[in-house]
Symmetry: C4
Subunit: 373 residues, 4 copies
């Protein structure tokens, strides 16, 4: 199928105008603009996707001629699950690099045989690891919007018209990606973990002196109070979301931006959060990057302390990122964003709370008209 194929345009939803193309992209997009025209004709496939909460048409590059193999079982399944697969692999890559960097730095701490004589990395390597992980994850998961974080997906549903029906499938894919990605890191470093913990199968959790559970999920510093734990995660998540909305805002006259710059900018953003707000609680800022690996570490034999450590700290990186991201996105829309947002509507959009059923009905109708459901 050539780019000039007119059917590409025909099957584009009404909002995918030429200006819509600019709105498109990671985490700030309404929805995808490139949709598959050919498969648009296959009614069953569309229905299956809709029943999963996904856009009826899968986002596929118009150069890619899927007609050749759309009758094969797996390629068809792959197209049905296109966005969840992208989110799975994007989160997988994020956690592989992130947890991998913690593993390497922690397990090789102080090793004098290293070149340079002091281990295979320093704390800064972990900033690099998570920054590169997110950058690479975005490059992998562009077709699904590259949210890679349920709190970011959630905030986009709230403020950027991403349909709520997308949330469950995205969430499951992201969580699974975090679980499996950290599992591969564990498998890769299993003999080194034995060596570091001091014996085969010994697994301990901070603040134990040779604990390795911190490779996979975050544990707070001992002196940090519960309120400070929450506040630290909340602040870091707000920063994340505030900046994502800023980077996706087509405004900002005089400071050119483009989607090409987005992955690099996110590298710097996450590097900065790690260097500036990464000490007290380890900057989880993402449920699936923390809860997924925590579950994995519990499953492979780390003791009950993965949950109880830090005064049952584990729920904070589950809840705080949602609160922080919503707050950060709200701040941006309240003070800077001039585009279409509930915050830029009467009563800051809270009016819908008064008549939730009517609002929901009308909202779903609008999505149906736009072909998003």
């Amino acid at each position: 199928m050539a780019l000039a194929d007119p059917s590409v345009r025909l099957y584009m939803p009404s909002w995918a105008s030429s200006t819509g193309l600019r709105r498109c992209g990671f985490a700030g997009s309404y929805e995808f603009t490139l949709v598959l025209s050919t498969l648009g004709k296959s009614a069953t496939l569309q229905q299956t996707r809709s029943s999963l909460g996904l856009h009826p048409s899968a986002p596929i590059h118009p150069d890619h001629d899927v007609e050749n193999y759309q009758n094969l079982w797996w390629p068809k399944t792959k197209i049905v699950l296109r966005e969840p697969l992208a989110e799975f692999w994007g989160t997988f890559i994020l956690v592989m690099f992130g947890d991998g960097s913690v593993a390497q730095v922690l397990l090789s701490t102080g090793q004098t045989t290293a070149p340079g004589g002091n281990g295979f990395g320093a704390y800064q390597s972990i900033s690099w690891g998570w920054g590169i992980g997110l950058m690479m994850g975005i490059y992998v998961a562009g077709d699904s919007g590259a949210y890679l974080n349920p709190a970011v997906t959630f905030t986009n549903c709230l403020f950027r018209k991403l349909p709520w029906r997308r949330f469950p499938a995205y969430f499951m894919a992201q969580l699974l990606g975090g679980f499996v990605g950290s599992g591969v890191v564990y498998a890769n470093y299993i003999s080194a973990i034995d060596w570091y913990e001091g014996g085969h199968g010994i697994r301990t959790v901070p603040p134990a002196p040779r604990a390795t559970a911190g490779i996979f999920c975050t544990y707070p510093q001992p002196f940090v109070t519960k309120a400070s734990q929450f506040f630290s995660e909340f602040i870091a998540s707000s920063l994340l979301m505030f900046m994502i909305f800023a980077l996706k805002d087509p405004s900002n006259n005089g400071v050119g931006k483009s989607d090409k710059w987005f992955p690099l900018a996110l590298f710097f953003l996450v590097f900065g959060i790690g260097a500036c707000f990464g000490w007290e609680t380890g900057y989880a800022i993402n449920l699936v990057r923390d809860f997924g690996p925590r579950l994995m570490s519990y499953a492979v034999g780390y003791p009950h302390e993965v949950w109880s450590a830090g005064g049952y700290y584990f729920w904070i990186p589950m809840v705080a990122p949602f609160c922080g991201c919503v707050f950060g996105g709200f701040l941006y829309d309240l003070f800077i964003y001039t585009g279409d947002s509930p915050v830029n509507s009467p009563w800051f959009g809270f009016k819908r709370v008064a008549h939730p059923q009517r609002w929901t009905r009308e909202h779903v109708q609008r999505e149906k008209d736009a072909g998003l459901v």
Copy 2:
């Protein structure tokens, strides 16, 4: 409102020609070229903005349809205060990352439980923090020109025809951004500061051995003389402004530049200033990044030494950045810049000093003709 709406062009000031678009952007721009056509019709809004010293029309992306909500109280206020809000949040982000990085590195110094066994960062992390903070601040504040530094605003008024009337509102917004941003960092690290200082509510200023005041504003090294203090800040500020003008110069044949590259280039510039001229006085190079947080730290309970330390050093990062930036901008225009600048006029522009009233009258008239006031 579509991009092709002809009214966008109608309301553009006369200087906003197609070549003008290239002149546009952070810190080296004459003024914004994208202006709101719709709100241009609302005379009251224009007058309020003018009375604050801002451009009559707010810079809003033509894709953003503000007609929907321009009658609501807050969105209208937001449009009136568009540039000050942008500068506030830009400076806020700058100081959040910058002060946050100092806090993390200082407070975790030598912590052996860190991955790598030696704290959560090194001096270099602070270069990263300020560099990323500026980069992210520019991405946030593009609509206002992203000056984020009153000395940079000042130099643009002097050499790049930014109207002087803009200065007060920009300055207040920047100062407030620095104050509030550092306050959030303080709130985030308050329990860690107690822990590091050795007791609840203890707050000390360098050169006290466990001082934490250096997180928020700069204090000079003890061996540096007053003259060297001033010179160090002066040099660093000159470098900053010289490079900003170079990066904004549309000339430089053969080395392509674009606004897309500007935030990244500023990351490298500030990283470099921190790595090369950051030791003696801590490279404030910005009144609001130093005085704002200093005021904040005094307000929350740091002792009188925040002012008296280093032989009442505190005025140096207030004055030196202005001197340095003006000198750096002057150097660039004197030796390299071939565009429109007072330095490229008879008597290097000093002639206006002879008849200041006449010059001012004519100058304001020209700005009125161009619709800048």
Copy 3:
């Protein structure tokens, strides 16, 4: 020859359509799209190139007017060997920077006269070295596709229609590049190696306490089992190939990508692999970067342990990268890629195994029709 010369188009193979241009580039390309029109007429030159397994026409920029010197002996040879020369120099540059960084960090470990008082670099410098080496190597070897790694070439033959006939010439050139590049590093650091090992001509292999063989090729950590050695290299190679395919995929709606970003993205990718999976086995992930320098080090006098160390570890960085890259490429095509790939065909492309001879005959015929042979 001007860009508008119509003959440029005439001699382009049939697949080099305008969409083909986008498919083009490092490691994920079908083949080159810019081909030399003038030399296309020289039948002998084409035949010589074909006999080496290369594309009949050499990839030469249309601005470059080779008619002037195509009758000279060396320039003609240079055009015949264009891709192998590019791969040779690309790999040479990769290994120069990579091995050079290990040499500098290892040999200067703990030197107190260094600025900063602790050697001329740390482990992180090695991540920089390999990352920069690959980035620069890609900038050098763009004309040949910049594979720089036989496992990447191999995977492109398997999944991206790079003709298998290309493999031998590319492989030889890459191997030679690794061999010669590491030889130049050895020559450069020979007196420092004598000084570090403790005497003229002493050469030892890890785990000897002052061993320098680790400058050139990788040796595993002592506690890592053979299975973990293989797994570590396998994982790192899979990551490499998975990400290369992702970066070359024209899809990924909303996350813009372009060939201009490719070298920088590979810098981050290899930096990340070094920071996250570089400890256990030294992230060879490339036969020619490990075996080439290993051969060189054996040739210049390192003892037999270069082969026997780590339980005859040397074969792992020869075999694991091939397995890992094929697996990583397979994963990408299985779960994400929607373009033309054997994985997106009936029986995942394994069907060809049933009738290998018929398949090969038809395949070669198709390549001949397309002018690739």
Copy 4:
């Protein structure tokens, strides 16, 4: 003067065709393509520039309307000296950042009051300093080609048709830039140098234990033989030039390049040279970056050892960069470059040696015809 002014084209030299635009830029360019049309009419100005060896027309952006001030004394002088001024300030910036980073790291070695507890930077900060210095220098000096290194200018004269008449003015400007830039660094750190050396006015040269002369120019490691000193500088300079030619080559199909990427790529290149080949001799790779500051340090009171240290090492970073750059450029043209180069001519261009006078006469005539003289 608008962009559409036809006179801009009229005064462009004949080689400045649309394809020529792509050849343009740092260090690999034939010459500038944007020239000042208006001043082209001022015969005296052209003659003055010609007599200095510069292109008759100064490179000025067509948006910049110099007619306004071309009768003023200084602006006219500035246009006459346009390229030398650009090279001066570019080298100045390069040395400011480079020497500044060495000063900060060396003088603060081991300072425990630093955040992080171990000085204000590490060896890696110096790689950042020189990398950022070059990047910023290129952004400043684009109008002159941003050579910033006489060996690079020399190699461009030899292989890329930069007229030899340009060399003297460029060389003087670069040398002065290095001298003055390092002088400002000295002035900035003078009290810190007194403090580090242990007394007012004490100045020592490595290998003295508290020597500070190494801030300004390079001194070799004690164990390195003279041959290794030369070889190390030679290799690093070859790498530099080889990569500059690669980055400027319009070929490299499939790996997109543009002048916008050049400054960033040079940052990585010089960072890499510093991390991989910066230990033995300090990677001068540039006469003016080493000899200029050396002269300055001798002038301000460093003893005679600045010349005699390392066995009168000082001549090596004067001579080796020229040899290395010529060799590196020769290698690139011999093996990869397919464009217009003496190496791509009969007898690799050495034929001209047989009849030097006739060749020179014809060569100058060609330059005159092209309006380059």
